[in-house]
């Protein structure tokens, strides 16, 4: 037995003398993944000194886990070397169970383990405290909107400012009817999970009702299948509401392609062939906005656009007759319907804007006064932190 120890000691000493031992990973730690749904523990460590000092000596790291410190460790993952710091998330941890971890430094022919780190326990969090500011803002804004909806329900008259682009919708549809040409409605290039597309298809319902009442025809080329299916249902219902189900043409609400520029080519082709008298571009747009709007301008159509994409708004403003800017797109459906409850939500939204405006003014003032050494609310930083989304 003694001779066996002697051999082992000799091997260890020889290896050390040749610099073949590997130094352990540094600062290894294990802790519950913060603010998550549980079932997850983060294991972190810094590189071994051997990785930093001798390139290629450390090939990678392994993460091992056991239920007890001196228990039976099982390998969870291989992590490649070459980073400034390391993090592995163990997503197979059970909530409330103690786990111990070891990080193994792996070289060409040998490896070295850290001492066990832990115990770490996965826990489930019920609230993300750093998003409290967002929750308060959302609740406050929702309260404003709900209050004004209830006011509208009670019959209180509410003032809504005139939106020129929406006043022109009827004129555009009327013009198309008089000219015997179709109305083209482009609902953007995003899918139905985009709120701008939802706003656009809501407006489509109102426009389709007008088109049905005026006995004009409506073309809706879509770049997403789901938008097409939704648009078909909306337009069909609008024709039914208008008492003209026979005038509904399913094939006029068509899918072209998901490809951005393929879609532009398709819509441009429709414009050039069908020569619509009124074009609506409402929803999410990117680089295709100007190509569509300029083609529409070249065929002499009256054009109404609306998007919340700030980078595309200048193009629409330059090329279209009317442009719904940002919030006007979301207000359009309510505005066109003139339904009191929907209009109430617009007034509530305006009050939300007033509150935000007050905060902006307060922020500007505190930042301005801080320049002169006057501190309010612990300087402007405190106010700024109120709006930081984490």
């Amino acid at each position: 037995m003694k001779s066996a120890y002697a051999v082992l000691l000799t091997v260890a000493l020889t290896a050390a003398a040749h610099g073949q031992t590997l130094r352990t990973a540094e600062n290894a730690a294990a802790a519950d993944t913060p603010v998550d749904a549980g079932g997850s523990i983060d294991v972190t460590w810094a590189p071994s000194q051997d990785e930093l000092e001798a390139e290629g000596k450390v090939l990678g790291y392994e993460v091992w886990r056991a239920r007890r410190s001196g228990g039976d460790y099982k390998k969870l993952a291989d992590v490649e070397a070459g980073k400034e710091s390391y993090k592995f998330t163990d997503k197979e941890a059970e909530n409330g169970v103690d786990y111990f971890y070891k990080v193994r430094v792996r070289g060409e022919e040998m490896s070295t383990d850290t001492a066990p780190v832990g115990p770490a326990k996965a826990t489930r969090e019920w609230f993300q405290p750093n998003r409290l500011n967002m929750l308060v803002a959302a609740v406050l804004l929702s309260a404003f909107i709900l209050y004004y909806i209830s006011q509208a329900r009670a019959g209180k008259a509410l003032f809504i400012r005139r939106i020129a682009g929406l006043e022109a919708v009827q004129e555009a549809v009327g013009r198309a009817t008089e000219m015997g040409k179709p109305v083209l409605f482009v609902p953007g290039i995003a899918d139905i999970d985009d709120i701008q597309t939802i706003a656009a298809v809501s407006i489509l319902g109102r426009v389709a009702t007008m088109v049905a009442e005026y006995d004009a025809s409506l073309l809706v080329p879509c770049s997403k299948s789901l938008v097409m299916s939704t648009a078909q249902e909306i337009v069909k219902e609008a024709y039914l509401e208008a008492g003209r189900p026979d005038a509904y043409r399913r094939e006029n609400i068509r899918y072209l392609t998901d490809d951005q520029f393929g879609y532009v080519a398709g819509v441009d082709g429709i414009m050039v062939r069908e020569k619509p008298a009124a074009n609506f571009y409402l929803g999410t747009f990117y680089a295709e906005s100007l190509i569509l709007a300029e083609t529409g301008h070249s065929i002499g159509a009256i054009q109404i656009a609306g998007t919340a994409m700030p980078s595309q708004l200048p193009f629409f403003i330059a090329a279209c007759d009317y442009t719904l800017i940002g919030e006007e797109l979301f207000a359009a459906s309510a505005y066109l319907s003139r339904e009191p409850r929907l209009l109430g939500s617009l007034v509530g939204q305006d009050w939300g804007k007033v509150v935000i405006l007050c905060f902006i003014i307060a922020g500007v003032l505190t930042a301005f006064l801080a320049q002169f050494g006057v501190e309010i609310f612990g300087r402007s930083i405190a106010l700024e932190q109120l709006f930081v989304v984490k």
Binding site: V35, D36, A37, G38, E125, W126, F127, Q128, R131, M134, L141, S142, I145, I195, I198, A199, S202, G205, T209, K224, S225, L226, M228, S229, T230, E233, I234, V235, K236, E237, E241, R254, Y255, T257, D259, G262, V264, A265, G269, A287, L290, I291, E294, A308, P310, L313, A318, A319, G326, E327, E328, L329, S333, R341, L342, S345, G348, Q349, G352, K353
Partner: protein, 214 residues
């Protein structure tokens, strides 16, 4: 029930996805809902492809305007599907070759049209007929001069620091960082409030036009 069920689905899914932002425990449920959405989208693609095929077939059959292009579309649709499924889409396959040497150049061609459209739209927008258009014109000229190297060439090396506010670089930075950023933020704040308002209307079932209801 035809309208109630979609409204209930919209309410439940919407509320869970909103709460998930604040309640980490709901992340798994939210992720599951998003997976369901992807499944629905996958099925909808078939509906879209069928609609496209049907439209173009009718066009060819009725010999409507530009019907030969519909043949190109149908042949292209089937060709890409067959070579994609049959021989894969990796590098070196027929699908990849068609995509690289046909689809990408066609996309680039459409995108390149933008340059000409920018010129024609700018010409109309920048005509100094009104005070607004004149301001737009002046701002655009200054920003353009500030963005290109030639804009700074005319500023001599001895130009005094006290007159730096007359150089295109300085003016461009102020226009972009102060006026432009402020305007964009105003639009974004308004749009964000609109998003909250629209979402609330849909969740509460007040806005139903997306269901085809007045």
């Amino acid at each position: 029930m035809r309208r109630e069920i979609p409204m209930i689905v919209a309410f439940v899914a919407g509320v869970i996805l909103i709460l998930e932002f604040f309640v980490p425990t709901l992340r798994d449920v939210a992720s599951e809902i998003q997976k369901w959405y992807l499944v629905v989208v996958a099925f909808a693609i078939l509906v879209g492809a069928f609609s496209l095929l049907r439209m173009n077939y009718m066009k060819v059959r009725g010999r409507r305007v530009d019907w030969p292009y519909s043949i190109v579309l149908i042949v292209g649709l089937f060709a890409m599907t067959i070579v994609g499924i049959g021989w894969g889409i990796e590098q070196g396959t027929v699908f990849n070759w068609l995509f690289t040497y046909l689809i990408i150049p066609m996309q680039a061609t459409m995108f390149a049209l933008l340059a000409f459209f920018v010129a024609s739209a700018a010409y109309r927008a920048f005509r100094a007929r009104t005070v607004d258009a004149t301001l737009l014109l002046v701002a655009a000229v200054v920003v353009m001069l500030g963005q290109v190297p030639i804009g700074s060439i005319w500023v001599p090396s001895w130009w005094p620091d006290s007159l730096v506010f007359l150089t295109p670089d300085w003016l461009k930075d102020r226009i972009m960082n102060i006026f432009n950023t402020a305007g964009q933020r105003a639009i974004l704040i308004g749009a964000s409030l609109g998003v909250v308002s629209t979402s609330l209307r849909i969740l509460l079932g007040i806005e139903r036009s997306y269901l085809g209801e007045e």
